[in-house]
Symmetry: D2
Subunit: 445 residues, 4 copies
């Protein structure tokens, strides 16, 4: 029962419930060939994947799930079609792991329903054709009323958009306060979203172009009165000043920030404003629910100061609809965010989403007018640098067809690294290569 509700929900979210869904008699045989989006629902969870089927005579073959070995459901399907059913044996590698049966009596050209058993677990299955949006791109003015503290596939989307649409919205500060400093959500890098992007499926790439990231109030805070222990040598100690004044004035006209009630030593300090989004990402794989302050393959709390107006971000999709969320704005931030905070504030944000079918790297990357940038988020700075460099190498190979030695020459002579943050559960090192350098290379096709 609950499963049925979920499936219906999934279809509604996909915008895929066509009027003819229940009309099946006296029709020509529904073709199985080609791509389907599959939703699998079971007692303790659900999963979404792409499925490709090919029918030859009555023999049906197919594959479900991205073929990347690190993804969850790389399954092979093999079986036969009868007048009323398609029965498919499911194998993972060489191991038989279950079967799925689609009911062809209720099928139509847009929708298959079925059931089966995978890994000993009873599942219900719905397969729908990929959504094609024929409408002009829309602009959504999205004023969220609920906010979340996690990147998670279980949260109900606050907005559904099509690829090509633009969203105008705002984010709360890290404590859940809006531009009037009013609490609107629980503290903890409170997130706007999630936003369901129709048609996005695991293995796809979600594109988010940040048209505008702007301050919407005149005050920020940096609550810490000391540096994070990870920024200092083992054994180094600090004397923290009690009741340390935490607020900063954001002088948007002059483009600078200054401490609200500075100590004598810092009386003249002013730093240039550079608004940025600290935390932005999609729902993580495997139905995980990760804190808004955590950071991983799905993005999240990347705390990188080039995530700002003019940047385009590319996220691997792990969940139907991608489920984009964002928050934790900073008026400015030093490298590494070494006190654990930037100048925390609320933001107004406008962005345009798009979708690239397939083509997902296993890590977030971005570009702006000057650079292509690859995040590296692993355990410790050494591993994070390795992840960023490896990702950049893969990107260069894919885009330009360079050999390993060509990549070594190019990167060794021109790579740049930023240490975005060291204080979230894992550090983020970003590898950059200048577009002026890339312009000297010939892209594939």
């Amino acid at each position: 029962m609950r499963a049925a509700v979920r499936i219906l929900l999934a279809l509604v979210l996909l915008g895929a419930v066509s009027a003819c869904a229940h009309v099946s008699d006296a029709q020509p045989a529904v073709s199985l060939d080609g791509k389907w989006n599959v939703f699998v629902t079971f007692a303790n969870g659900s999963s979404a994947a792409e499925m490709t089927l090919t029918q030859t005579g009555n023999e049906v073959e197919g594959q479900s799930g991205p073929l990347d070995e690190n993804r969850y459901f790389p399954l092979t399907l093999r079986g036969r079609r009868s007048a009323t059913y398609v029965r498919l044996a499911v194998t993972r590698g060489t191991t038989f792991v279950g079967n799925i049966t689609f009911n062809m009596e209720t099928a139509n050209s847009e929708l298959l329903e079925g059931f089966g058993e995978l890994y000993g677990v009873t599942v219900q299955v719905v397969a729908a054709r990929t959504v094609v949006n024929t409408q002009a791109p829309a602009v959504h003015d999205y004023a969220p009323t609920t906010f979340f503290l996690q990147y998670s596939a279980r949260h109900k989307p606050g907005l559904t958009v099509y690829p090509g649409d633009t969203v105008r919205t705002f984010t709360l500060d890290n404590e859940g306060r809006d531009k009037q400093l009013k609490y609107r959500g629980m503290p903890g890098n409170t997130l706007t979203g999630p936003i369901f992007v129709t048609g996005a499926m695991p293995g796809d790439t979600l594109v988010v172009k940040l048209n505008k990231v702007s301050l919407n109030r005149d005050v920020a805070h940096m609550a810490s009165s000391g540096l994070d222990g990870r920024a200092l040598l083992p054994g180094a100690t600090q004397t923290r000043t009690p009741n340390w004044n935490r607020n900063w004035v954001l002088d948007r006209e002059r483009g600078v920030a200054r401490p609200e009630t500075p100590t004598d030593n810092l009386a003249n300090l002013e730093l240039p404003l550079k608004p940025m989004i600290g935390s932005i990402g999609v729902a993580p794989m495997f139905n995980q629910a990760l804190m808004a302050g955590d950071v991983a393959f799905h993005g999240g709390n990347m705390d990188y100061d080039r995530v700002t107006t003019g940047a385009t971000l590319y996220f691997p999709v792990w969940t139907a609809g991608a489920l984009l969320s964002l928050g934790d704005g900073h008026a400015l931030q030093g490298d590494g965010e070494i006190s654990g905070q930037g100048l925390e504030t609320s933001l107004d944000v406008e962005f345009t989403v798009d979708l690239i079918k397939g083509d997902a790297l296993s890590q977030v990357w971005l570009e702006d007018a000057d650079y292509v940038m690859m995040t590296g988020i692993e355990n410790g700075l050494d591993a994070s640098l390795q992840r960023a460099t490896t990702g950049m190498s893969q990107w260069l190979k894919k885009r330009y067809g360079l050999s390993d030695s060509e990549i070594a020459l190019l990167l060794s002579a021109s790579i740049e690294y930023d240490i975005a943050e060291i204080v979230d559960p894992r550090p983020n090192i970003v590898a950059r290569i200048a577009k002026s350098t890339l312009a000297m290379l010939k892209p594939l096709n």
Copy 2:
């Protein structure tokens, strides 16, 4: 006997042998008060330190060695002066570790000679007054004929200079070849130097202002055909192209470098020249001899691209004369030097040395027109970042008297990090703070 020779050598190097050194009869009593440079020589080594003595009646007290607890000889001296001798008991903390006796019959206002036992080891001791150079700064055109592969106190200096002097010299490439591509030394970041700076003693700060770092030939090389394993994720593999063309053309007129015989994919690649000194440092503490390719508290193979024209470097001195060496020029280099090499070439270099008595940080720092920069060289990137940040915190405290909370606020909002290299035995992360930001602070006194 050998010890005597060494002492003499030390004095010659110090430029401290005054004409009156052997005239001691019928003179007023030599004053012990004030600062001396002490040379201690023993069967298996030698050491240099500053010594301060105070005579009250016949009681003599003093201290030898920088008081920093990490330095080698923080010794306390206590004893009495007779007509012919000063006998001093030596303690380290509360532990008696030996005694020293100066012969006052041979003493003069510039020089004390003595002997003793420290830690059970027979030692000979010479103390000389600090050298004062009364001459105008000189310019030395230094064409080295021998080159070394190590930073070490045991190498014979190739040049002796005074603080304020300027040196014009050249460096070989990392394989020991000069601007005619002729081998002049063994390969291995072959070093020009060491240069003895008269008056430099352990605990002092050696200042090296790089007036000019310039290319002197039209070819460089980057020998590696792959990335260093430390730049890529564990398990990542590379196919290295055999006979990979290693040479680059340095087009000094147009200010760019290009591969000499590029592959098709890289046919249009040109990168801007940015000549820099890869390896520069002083003799390390404790009589260690460290490879020119190694990097530590003494500097060495820092591989940082801001070590170039206009930069001023500050080195802690560990050895009498400091013993500056330099080499491993790069025509340009990417962050991290991730193939293990930059564009390796020979250089012409002009620099001016100076000396700050005392005031040594335990790590190398530098400045140029735009930034104050602190190196961080430890095991792994996490620890190197900690070293750089801790050093910068100490520098800010010392220079501006900031509290820990003020430092946290300032750095968290404005620090910048560079990953200079990850391939030498230890990685080098440099923390930077803009001089435009520092200009808003009030320096102490």
Copy 3:
């Protein structure tokens, strides 16, 4: 509406719905004083915490949430009681964050109901007195039918027990197969559980005594044909043998395991069986949902070979009921689990649960006949060792009142470290101290 359902569910789970819950008229005034368990439910989540109230005249004061600064709800409550309501202002530190009102007309000695706003979010609140179990400890034969792939507070408990109860159950192997090698759940360290422990609240310590961990079939597998990249030097490569035989025979009579169809080189290899539980833990804080293969403060995939018969584990509780899960049995395992797998198999397990109110360390620890052991799970081995040593230091201070210098002396002379695993998202280093050494110390009170 949904919130009401949730609250009811929470109360049922707590076993706290007493028969008199709706009888409130003509009774003496309900006392607020003392400890309550509080459940807070809101549009996008829920939270549980302890609350302590004190009434003085009509003034009511209290605190909610563990006082440990790293926990989520350390709130201060202050307000007044009227005939029908208790209205409490809520502050976090010095910041006003909302208010809560309890309806005293529906209150009884066991239960308060209320509503309010926290951080701008509408909440419903139920407070119940702590459950006291007056029954004899029970033994539960628990044959699970659904299995989960995550440690998460959102999963429906499969079993509810009281402190003191014993559970006999089984675990599937890492691929979801039982002792007949039949798939019973999705692959991925498939977990038995979660088990709801009545009365467990955030801040408490869940005690799990493993009475018996035993093999229940004659076959295990180790699927990898190579070592994990993190076990080998950067750049090291391996040639993996295709179709590598993965199965091992578990000879329970002779107590050894051997490869089922070994290569010639390994024809004589037999290793002693040492069955262990690879993954065991509680639901993580902040409503996170973490993979069964992940490992953190809540336990999880600790892969430590001393988690076996005779060991007692201590978990910090983050969620009402603690929600214990377990799986990923190994017939034996080398240090570090360096291929990513042990000898993976299903297990029969018997354990007794208990509860210590409060007293939670922020990391899992355990003991057996010979050792007290502290897990250390952080980013990289260096940090994991630091976490284990710091935890052990805190435990010694708490248990024996030792000073830092006494701890330094004791640990420096007698600590032992195990590298449990390096292949899960974070490595686990365990610090051990022998009970024979602890027996020389005097515990506090």
Copy 4:
């Protein structure tokens, strides 16, 4: 002149100056074929290597230096022999780097003299046949009078032995004090040695069997009053007790150590004695001089408690004579040496040296009755574990001919790791495999 002196010294040390060295006339032509030990001396250093020559007609070919690419002089020699000279061009890879000429007029069957230029540097060359010791193994009672603070090729050997000889000697404690607590050397893990092992050349393996490691006094000390910062989480602080009592009583009869004047809390503490050598190693490659407290490929301050009676250590040789030194005895030590010290004391030591020609691994390994053990000394624990595992993998491949997949299976199921120390400049993780497991494998040949 100095070079000639050095060459003579080298020959004396080798024991290779035969009586007929200067008699060359009217003899049959000296054969060049086969192995020679080569000593190269130049203005700023010296180097030793093996050289193999083959004469075919007048054509002479050969190689000098271990062929391992990480070693210093892998040179190819090619040239012709005339009546009076052998002239050889020297190449490194495909690069011409110089030439060497041997004077055949002064040559004899044991000795060649020559000169040349390598890398633009004038060199003198002496080649001598490998020494064969025809005498019975000797026992040396070696009472050292000078002690060193470094592992270095420049120190004059205190004792010369042949392979097979046994040495009975003593070591000072880490502060330079002997068994009467008398200072005999400067503090800093003061080393006994170096000991020159006749015939040892770069690329060989030095074998040191520890027959006996025993305490020779009743007192030890552990000077630190706190844990090393690297043992605790970033930001953790300790209160150090001033004037902390540092001395321990070594009760050799009962086999236990106890604090000399314990605090009340530690009044009953006694820990079992387990004497061990903290620092033992050979002169490092490239003429480096490394501190006795440093640790690397050459051994040094490994601080591993299985380096004790019954252990046999295998060192790669980097210098003619290997130059073995040892010191830094501990009466006992916890894993990691986390305060920076064990129970520091002097020791009596008896060991037998042997030599395996060639066969050097690039890291120190050892064995005892129960285990084969591989040290792993790199930057940080992660890299050290990788080094230890990689070394063990190479050892298994070399000794048993196992494939990578066989090694993965074996190690994943049976490897054990010890964390020897984390406080020396680099940490040491030791990988162990039980001899009972190795006994199930078939060694090659």
